[in-house]
Symmetry: C2
């Protein structure tokens, strides 16, 4: 039965790009008291170990570390390593900067960080990684499989963590290895051979570890010494191999010979593996070989086997009965928000950098690219790192942002400079930006304008379509007027800034910037900006003789008031509130014929602590384990609803309690509600951790079913207390139904479709039909025993006084007739990801006389179709441009928009002459055609016929029109004529 | 003040040749759960690390490990290593097989194990180690300094452990570095520059450790990464350097950069040391350099400084108030006994191997040489290893012994074969030996002789002088007769074997051999053998018609008996006992006019346990910490003295209690008493460990002063509660006065000299004037927190039933007129070390007719002078012979014998023609003349004029007479003409 069993020994190290230590600490091996780990040791010691025996192989994964090492090496070592890569002894696997998370990451970030790694590998070594290797992330996404797997050109994808119930079933039916079709739209055209490991990504049993000082018995084969143990060790090996063969199809099994930060002295492993291979093969019962996931994949492929099929994804992940890893979907919401903010900024900044022309010697987006790439690590944006490491990620993002901000400012200075209106003496315009606008901190706009200077606001739209959106900036007083590019005064609205916002502003400015703002702005100034695609408009804010429109403010609607209900909304969408109950009651969009009961509340889950029992499982950074059902957070009756009304926006303010403040906004011309919440510091004085959720309740008969996105891209159907792949034993009725949300969540019944979109990665669910909940913040007092060894208790300190972290975030909701929700989710989702980018400067004279005030990167009349987005437009530094176009809709999602669409490249690059367009793989490290040609074809067991898959055709080099079928992302390298 | 301060960084690893793990386990890195340690890693990783930077240096010490590694290496690696040694990057330091203990080791073993290492190094690398490096042994001996230091050709000696009070004083007066004159006889002619480290043999502070995963801050000098810390680390370095400079003479200090089993991945240390050297020297306050103890020694020498002088030794060692490391002088007395037994056997076996001609393809003494060398390690014979490691040493000795036994048997077969009396058909005689004669187990002699066969006993004398000694072998019954070589019947005596001996015999035969002897011998047969120097005589034991002389047995002398006292003794020496008190009372030697009161008893110290107080310090394998004064062990009044008298020996048997049995023997023609004790199992049922001492009390007015040997060689004056080098603060009035004893201990007053000699290494003292005590056994229930992490509770098991270890041992005492004791101590001491070696075979006919029955390796009429011993006579395998001659007396020790003496080499090798005699250094790795020439000359501070040192002159190549001055050991390589 086991004759010819091949044991593929894959020597590997799993090097977290930050977790218990920072990425730099892991690299150099400092802070070892926290964790003994030094990647420099691994790579330094690897090279002689590989040279010592040409049969030895090793895979290296995390390019953030490899690149640090590579730039330190001598030319000689680099040459040696190139040889090792060429000979196949050293293989790059996965190949992104990090092994990104799959729950809390946005697909654009996943693509970017993978591209960064892959292009480096291609450039230095001329190779393209073939294998996805997501061995540690805590659950696995459909987008990872089909987009970051198949579309990257990978032939297989391996991972370690799947639900324990799922794993048990798969072992029994030998279906740990499957063909995964992660995309409804692409079906088998984007399938990938995928293997979940039998246990984890470590050696098969506890006695095959060979790090320096590891306790596994070494193979003692020197007959001149005592304790000769070759027969024992060969038996151990064969037993472990047979055990794995029993749950595996074909006569090939893989052993992951390594684990976290191992091979610090690589020789210790190879010395033993050499011996195992020698003596096991001499024994002959099984065959052992040095291998890599590529070799293993090829062997699997050659076996000519039909594989079980897998669709959807592997979320949520539980490693044991009460161990649902669904807490990290929300852990560190501020870091998650900062990652999303900088990610959107990076997309826009690259466009602007490209418009000006990128230079490596002046400020550019490279360090932001690096910081963002690292932040996608599965212990970074996931929130599962130690606090000091979270600080390190934020610091890197901040440094990267600050440099990108300079590049953006330089680009604006370049783009606004009117060639015919300036001379050499005109000083370079200094543009300021306001990254802390979220806490109402924007020194540029808080000027009192009394010196007669205009505030010039350049508003950039990174989207490929013209866009109208409301700008909100803090201003010092009410005597302001807003004019557009042409100088025409436009409507604006002043909104008083509540004390809660001002308190947040001053506390966090002090905590994070070390400054106490001298000015306290009194108002938010809101006005509507209209901006061309990939372009900017200019607005001016100046001193006015009289006050601008101050919002009409009502602090009524206390309980007992006569007029019990009131309506809010400027256009089609109206929200009806009960003043007495101080709550939202109804959602009405007459134009769309939608009228639904609705309620929106906050609640919390008391976190399970350490109870010292056998099934002790605290809620922690990874794990969400509520102690019982959720507990409602009652509205503070003494503090009434306050409504602000004006021509631009209606706002309903609710101070729910001393640590939750909420603003609901309805903008002119928009048909969704925006909810901004300020949550924190979460009280822990009763010694119990709390996980805060907001819940929006409708009466939709959603039949246990809801939909959440996969990394901001495809929506996947979720059914409460149910898994498609096995009969779920429900142990955690809440935590076990949580899913990661990056774009949004929706549910529907026969009439309506209720959608909620988010501004960052969060966890959420629908625990009752018609209800949607999002977990917005967590503050915990126990560690959940998955390694981080810290309670997730984020605090912010001013002068040594620390308070729990306050989180400010937004979500957006909308109800549509059934079948009509996708349009908003997709197009507005793109707007959330890519908000308008504001830059400020002051002008004494008439700015417009001497500056360019409007600009579009596209051909003047051109805009992208509604269902397509430019997700990358980036100068590659060699005169080439990287362009990625993404169709935003899945098949069947929208009657009108789930169709093939076209983009005219000539008009996208209206001012340039395209020389050559090369379609590339998603990570832009090989030609798409080459990738298609190499792709392994896998047989699927009993697959049913699938609908015909639609893809855009080849790009005609003359017409240069790119077709995009639903969900298609096409990547191009574009050369221009000079 | 510190300008020009040079910090010598000495990268090193301290690789115990067995301690918590066995030597093989340490080498291959198995059993890592006990201790993470793998010497193979150290040496494997070292080579590329040294090649990577030609400034890097490393020292390697323990040749037992190095030789294991060396024989595994390819020719290419060997060539590389030879280059590294040649260039000085890799230096062999110390260079013995192990870093031997200095308390429990015999000087002959120290020489042998050093020679084994040194000659290997010379042979493979052509170099001679220059430096003694005894960094871990627990106290330091005079013999180490002058004999294994200066006489080996070392230019300096470094060590880590000296008494904490001594160290404090030396730091204050900058006298950690001294010139040590360890020998009274040799004075400055055998002095050595010696340095005690300021703290230990580790890096200067806790933050300079750079093993894989060590927590010391690495030097982070990459400005592209966070946590750049070069200035901080340079400051740390400079501060540590200045601190050490403050207690050190000259502007050179040494840092021992390593510790136990470090450099498993050598690069981790060197990477940091490279950086320290670079940045510290860039800083310029102090100068850092890669160095070795040799370079450091040369720098010290070049400084032209006069050094404080040190005489005697560094015993005992205490590392803190109650931490006297004097327990290990006795720990594992059975192992210590086994080491001594095999050591003596090895000396004799090499002689016999030489007589026959050594062959590497037939059984030889090499594996015994290896086992003995390893057993000298400072955690081997010291008794401070874990039990499983002690077992490993014993196993190696046993394997080595078994092979040597075959070589000896073959040699006897060769030597007894009469060339003219045998033909080719004569079968090879199989000689049996009886290594378990100590437990009365000797199958060869236990035959019942009823088949008419004679038992042939070949008695070999390894000493250079003719010798008469009593043989004792167990026999099955009384009808035996003994004849000498000429066939003449000689006097013999039968001694009934008491039950205690028989019990011991059957228990240990079962426990160690797995056999239950079928015969229970009834008697010891004793007879006197006369044996030529380096030769043998033959005796025959046969069946007799009537019984041989059975000892006259008296079981009288119970208390209350009329005749209260009785006398025992066959010749000049008489011991007087009180029957009533059942004890020895008087020692009388009329011929020598000695008459002294004497008493001899047993007592025990209750061991201090774990009391959980701040000064908790249990007695353990290392530490002797008695809980209060000793407690007498009272003689069991119900069990009388039993006296056996006969023509050969008088014996007094005393069953002290259920676990102590003692036999006192007075032999015909000898003027000392032999005491054989059987101690154990020590009872521990009251939960208290016990340390058993025997005490011999005289009335000598010894004025606190007594003398103990240094490694069986020089005697050193000890004064109770006093140290010559500092004002002793007495905290442990017993433990702090214990000293190691390998040969003996004596004390004296104006009339008499009382000497006690031992059969193995033990601890002992004179806690009251006139009294001598020896600690003979220890059984402890706590670990003493010095790393071994086991209580020293030795047990022996039969079929899973275990009992505390029983120890059988001997000591010898004698009282001489003052000034006359040395002769016995020296000459009989040599006899104890080299007992007669017995080999047995059976003969049917007349053995003497067809066999050589007497033999001497010397010229027939020649014998060595009484004051000289052959301590090595060994075939080197290349036709050369290694000969070491040792003068046995110190200057002034004996009026007649402390004089220059001569040995005629022509007569030593009477049957061979000497071609060439080359005098070598003690470890036989260089010519003595060459060594003398290279020797560094050191200046001593305020040294007083010393008596003229006497040394033997050069050997005239014609006369070939070797002169030996007192204490001189001369080493020769001898070539013969063919």
């Amino acid at each position: 039965m086991y004759s010819g069993l091949n044991v593929h020994l894959v020597p590997h190290t799993h090097d977290d790009v930050g977790w218990l230590k920072t990425v730099d600490q892991y690299y150099v091996g400092s802070n070892n008291s926290i964790q003994g780990a030094c990647v420099q040791n691994v790579l330094d010691s690897l090279i002689p170990a590989l040279l010592a025996n040409r049969n030895r192989k090793f895979i290296y994964v995390e390019q953030a570390f490899f690149q640090r090492w590579w730039r330190e090496q001598s030319e000689f070592v680099q040459k040696t390593v190139k040889q090792l890569v060429k000979s196949g002894q050293l293989e790059f696997i996965n190949g992104g900067m990090c092994m990104h998370d799959e729950a809390a990451t946005h697909y654009i970030d996943m693509i970017d960080q993978t591209t960064l790694g892959h292009r480096f590998i291609k450039q230095e070594f001329g190779v393209t990684p073939r294998i996805g290797w997501q061995i540690d992330p805590f659950g696995h996404s459909a987008v990872q499989a089909y987009l970051l797997g198949a579309e990257v050109g990978f032939d297989s994808l391996f991972f370690g963590r799947i639900d324990y119930q799922d794993r048990a079933k798969r072992k029994g039916e030998k279906s740990l290895e499957v063909v995964w079709q992660g995309s409804k739209s692409f079906g088998s055209s984007a399938q990938i051979f995928s293997g979940a490991f039998p246990e984890n990504y470590e050696p098969p049993t506890s006695n095959f570890y060979f790090e320096v000082n590891d306790a596994s018995p070494i193979v003692q084969d020197d007959i001149d010494l005592f304790d000769y143990n070759v027969p024992d060790r060969v038996n151990d090996f064969v037993a472990a191999a047979i055990s794995q063969a029993n749950i595996t199809r074909t006569n090939h099994i893989m052993w992951t010979m390594g684990t976290d930060f191992k091979y610090q002295y690589a020789e210790t492993w190879f010395r033993q593996l050499d011996k195992f291979i020698h003596y096991v093969n001499q024994d002959g019962r099984v065959h052992a070989l040095y291998s890599t996931p590529s070799i293993y994949t090829d062997a699997k492929h050659a076996a000519n086997e039909a594989w079980p099929i897998k669709t959807d994804d592997f979320f949520p992940y539980a490693d044991r009965v009460n161990g649902y890893w669904t807490g990290y979907f929300t852990s560190r919401p501020a870091l998650k928000g900062y990652v999303r903010f900088t990610s959107g900024y990076y997309l826009a900044a690259r466009q602007l950098e490209y418009f000006k022309g990128k230079s490596s010697s002046s400020p550019n987006t490279d360090s932001l690219a690096d910081a963002l790439a690292i932040a996608q690590h599965h212990d970074a944006v996931s929130g599962t790192e130690k606090q000091h490491v979270a600080n390190d990620y934020a610091k890197r993002l901040s440094i990267g942002y600050t440099e990108a901000e300079k590049a953006v400012a330089a680009s604006f200075a370049f783009l606004t400079k009117a060639a015919n209106k300036t001379d050499g003496r005109t000083p370079q315009i200094k543009f300021q930006q306001c990254p802390l606008l979220n806490i109402s901190y924007c020194p540029a706009s808080e000027s009192d304008f009394s010196d007669g200077k205009d505030l010039v606001v350049v508003v950039y739209n990174p989207l490929g379509r013209k866009r109208e959106d409301v700008i909100r900036i803090p201003v010092a007083n009410e005597n302001v007027v807003v004019r557009d590019s042409s100088g025409k005064e436009i409507q604006s609205q002043l909104l008083p800034i509540p004390d809660t916002f001002l308190g947040l502003r001053s506390y966090y400015a002090k905590a994070y910037l070390g400054v106490s703002p001298s000015v306290n702005p009194k108002y938010w100034l809101a006005f509507s900006a209209i901006v061309p695609p990939l372009g900017f408009s200019t607005y001016y804010v100046s001193k006015a003789k009289q006050a601008a429109t101050i919002s009409d403010s009502h602090r009524e609607y206390r309980s007992g008031s006569q007029s019990d209900t009131f309506e809010v909304g400027l256009g089609n969408l109206k929200l009806i509130y009960s003043g007495k109950e101080a709550k939202l009651t109804q959602y009405i969009n007459r134009k769309r014929k939608v009228k639904e009961s609705i309620d929106q509340t906050y609640k919390f889950y008391a976190s399970y602590g350490d109870d010292f029992t056998d099934d002790a499982q605290a809620s922690g950074a990874y794990i969400f384990r509520p102690n019982g059902s959720s507990i409602p957070i009652h509205y503070n009756k003494k503090s009434p609803l306050t409504v602000f009304r004006g021509p631009i926006v209606h706002e309903v303010h609710q101070k729910i309690n001393s640590w939750i403040y909420q603003t609901t906004r309805l903008f002119k011309g928009k048909e969704h509600a925006e909810v901004e919440f300020i949550v924190g510091p979460i009280p822990i004085d009763n010694g119990v951790g709390k996980e805060i959720a907001t819940e929006i309740k409708t009466n939709l008969a959603s039949s246990k079913t809801f939909y959440t996105d996969s990394n901001g891209r495809d929506f996947i159907e979720r059914v409460r207390d149910y898994r498609k792949d096995w009969n779920l034993e429900v142990n955690q009725p809440v935590a076990g139904n949580y899913y990661p949300i990056n774009l949004g969540i929706y549910l529907k019944d026969k009439q309506s479709e209720f959608s909620v979109l988010v501004d960052r990665s969060v966890g959420g669910s629908s625990i009752q039909d018609g209800h949607v909940e999002l977990m917005v913040h967590r503050r915990l007092l126990n560690d959940d025993s998955r390694g981080v060894a810290e309670a997730l208790n984020e605090t912010v300190c001013v002068s040594d006084k620390c308070a729990g972290l306050t989180v400010l975030g937004k979500y957006y909701f909308r109800i549509d007739p059934v079948g009509e929700g996708a349009r908003w989710r997709r197009t507005f989702g793109q707007e959330i990801y890519s908000p308008l980018l504001l830059a400020f400067t002051e002008s004494e004279g008439n700015w417009g006389d001497s500056h360019v005030t409007t600009f579009s990167g596209l051909d003047s009349s051109y805009g992208l179709p509604e269902n397509v987005a430019i997700i990358t437009l980036q100068a590659l530094g060699n005169g080439e441009v990287l362009l990625r176009l993404a169709h935003l809709f899945e098949i069947g999602e929208d009657v009108n928009l789930s169709v093939k669409s076209s983009v005219e490249l000539k008009k996208v690059f209206g001012n340039k002459q395209i020389n050559k367009v090369t379609e590339a793989s998603l990570s832009a490290n090989q030609e798409r055609a080459e990738m298609e040609k190499k792709r392994l074809v896998w047989q699927v067991k009993g697959s049913s016929p699938e609908p015909k898959v639609s893809r855009g055709g080849p790009v005609d080099p003359e017409k240069l029109i790119v077709e995009l079928a639903p969900m298609e992302i096409r990547t191009f390298i574009i050369n221009f004529k000079h």
